[in-house]
Point group: C2
Chain length 447, copies 2
């Protein structure tokens, strides 16, 4: 006992709790995302947090720096690790269960992932990912489904001002050859262009000159591309096609975006809620075609809150064949922070609509019986179970915990076969017969 | 690439996936539990999977055999571990946040836990726990709340034949002194009695004689207790009070059960759904008072599916003070297995109600527009995105995936401004104008 008392109740660095006041609205957010994903026909999958390390890293030792390894006892033979995303486990599932899973496989998954990144403000070592992917379809309609899903999710969460930005990596991959370099130089060109915000055009120019030997001809070509990037939506893809006609891969990218656009329109995504944006690159190396991201136009600085793309090499780690896939991942923590900032959600102290006070022991049983009738009617309700014994102290507790309705039963009420139903927001109360309590409460609160 | 292809897609021993056909009904089960817990006023808490090892083990090295340790890199300084239950993290939260959490604190938590037990049939190293606890109330009404919650949860899950069995460890703790031994011998007496099913009364008798030196007087006293244990409910607690009048702790236990019984009745738990059962002990050492378990009377062999009790030493690892608590934990996997066995749930292939066929490229956009109208009306729906291009093959897919409704749009339908809405179960189809599709579908399926 004395030894045990030395233990300090605390969390490891970069790890957090969600106390009820945050978890109640967070749960509602996660439910809204889930409902939307199911509305779009995605089915739930659950995979373990703990996987074989080689499955997660693909045998790549460079991963070990970020991955949490795990095992029993002295950890000497530890061959397990905690997943760092939900995409590698999806690939494993696709490779492992084969034809048992009908294709296209539209699955969603919500779950915790772990990354050993340096803890810093707003960045955690354990966090929730919420992904939707369509595996086994290379149709542009599938890309459009993901874009429509992104829009619908934002609407379901209550965002009014958001924008889904769509691009195609194939256009970016064609950039080097369009400018006159070998296609393999595209990543270098992109990497340098990406610094525009920080070092401006003069800095970008200097680096391109120094690192890649850009001259007048190359700068002219690049400038034309950048002009399109910064220009109008109207006729954009036609302009890209005309400009980059010497790059087959870019033309392929344009054609795909045209098909996707048709589907996005047919799927009813409002025209002002999505754009083709040639500047969208998405960091991850594994995207091979269309890429998407969602920004909040009220909070552009927080970046993308829901992004993804097509990655057709999903299962290469496990199988010789390749399986096409497209998907997107919600930035759960980022989106929740945005919802708080915009006042779309607020902290909530209770899920209950009603607190039955419990200050007279002779009336407890009647109170429990009224409580039971409320629950049978589907009204989340509680009876006071704490230490305070007076009406006044229990009412103060109800105020503090923000119960919308309080029910009061003293000996007078018990005798008369009624309770006092107190509407805490309207600050008024009525005598209600026992059997009418559920209806009276339902007139006050929304369920 | 060649190196990567060596990796076999597989899971570690004792670890499992939930593919959609299992996850869809499982999710519904978890939702039903959650709704019931919230109906009873429990609020959600979320704590991390990864905690400091000393917090989880309380510094007890014996834990290391079952606990998964975790860390970055070479694991030399690994001081983290995966939680093995949700109760220790609850204790940490209570100790860590102190008065920030209003008491009584009624929280529920669902989450994965990890235990390094030897993998065997039906026992996994990573599994879900779903707990509800009331912290900071020693009132018998709180015990009754947990009992009522257990019953309501079983009802919400669709079980008709279940029984909540209630006992008090204080009565069992009083057993030794009632028989004439020191109170410290109660665990030994109970341990031997617990073998009744296996070695019968003769075997139990022999062990009690040999190990504890039972003689005629002791056997007579024990026999009287066992007769009550096996006897009728009617007046049971009165009989225990009369029999064990020499044991203050047993009398305290009886008085508590009387109070709890009054509340359980007032809370409207049907009389045939719960009993006082003196044989309920619950394995865990930490229960200090009332204990509960729920059995399925159709499947008694699977044991308790929802059990718990009062444990008033919750935070002793972290704090000098003691905080009373009572709670219960759903055996999620066991209860789901029972639901499958009893036919309450079945595998489900899709969450969608409608598949829009997509066999004529000229009609895709119209199909997507109809799809969009269904989703706006809240009907989970999909459009066919696979490789099959013929009507016949797509319809076969719809049959295989068990979509209740199929929508067919060919060039003829498109021209006429209608679609065919096919009720797959009733095997009949109707021509429906585009704008009437959502209503037509809602007449066929339940949402």
């Amino acid at each position: 006992m004395e030894k045990q008392m030395n233990i300090q109740p605390r969390l490891a660095a970069g790890i957090r709790d969600y106390l009820p006041e945050d978890m109640i609205p967070r749960q509602k957010m996660l439910d809204a995302i889930r409902r939307t994903f199911e509305l779009y026909g995605f089915v739930p999958l659950d995979t373990p947090g703990l996987e074989l390390e080689e499955v997660l890293t693909g045998g790549d030792p460079a991963f070990n720096k970020q991955i949490f390894r795990a095992g029993l006892g002295d950890l000497e033979d530890a061959d397990l690790a905690l997943r760092f995303d939900l995409t590698v486990p999806l690939a494993r599932v696709i490779a492992q269960y084969g034809s048992q899973l009908e294709k296209p496989f539209k699955r969603y998954q919500m779950g915790k992932v772990w990354r050993g990144e340096k803890p810093q403000a707003g960045r955690f070592r354990e966090f929730v990912q919420f992904d939707a992917d369509i595996v086994g379809s290379s149709r542009p309609e599938s890309d459009a489904e993901i874009i429509a899903l992104m829009g619908a999710t934002m609407e379901a969460l209550g965002f009014e001002n958001y924008l889904v930005r769509v691009n195609n990596r194939k256009i970016l991959n064609g950039l080097a050859s369009f400018i006159g370099f070998d296609a393999s130089k595209s990543p270098d060109v992109l990497r340098i262009i990406d610094k525009m915000d920080k070092i401006e055009w003069a800095g970008v120019k200097a680096e391109l000159e120094k690192e890649l030997g850009f001259g007048t001809k190359e700068f002219d070509a690049l400038r034309k591309f950048l002009d399109l990037m910064e220009g109008e939506q109207e006729g954009l893809l036609e302009k890209v096609r005309a400009l980059m006609s010497n790059s087959p891969i870019a033309l392929e990218g344009v054609a795909e975006l045209e098909e996707i656009s048709k589907s996005v329109i047919a799927l009813g995504v409002p025209r002002e809620k999505w754009v083709i944006d040639l500047s969208v690159a998405r960091g991850l190396g594994y995207y091979t075609g269309p890429v998407f991201e969602t920004i909040l136009t009220d909070l552009p600085s927080i970046g993308s809150v829901f992004g993804g793309g097509r990655y057709d090499d999903l299962v290469e780690r496990f199988m010789a064949s390749s399986i096409p896939a497209v998907g997107a991942s919600v930035g759960v923590d980022r989106i929740f922070a945005a919802m708080e900032k915009l006042g779309i959600v607020k902290k909530e102290k209770t899920v209950s609509k009603v607190l039955v006070l419990n200050f007279d022991p002779d009336c407890s049983a009647v109170g429990q019986s009224v409580l039971s009738s409320l629950r049978r009617a589907g009204v989340p309700s509680e009876i006071y179970l704490g230490r305070e014994l007076t009406f006044k102290a229990q009412l103060a507790y109800a105020v503090k915990q923000e119960f919308p309705v309080v029910i009061i039963i003293g000996s007078r009420e018990k005798e008369a076969g009624v309770v006092q139903v107190k509407d805490m927001n309207a600050r008024k109360q009525d005598s209600v017969a026992f059997s009418d309590v559920p209806d009276a409460v339902k007139r006050i609160v929304d369920l």
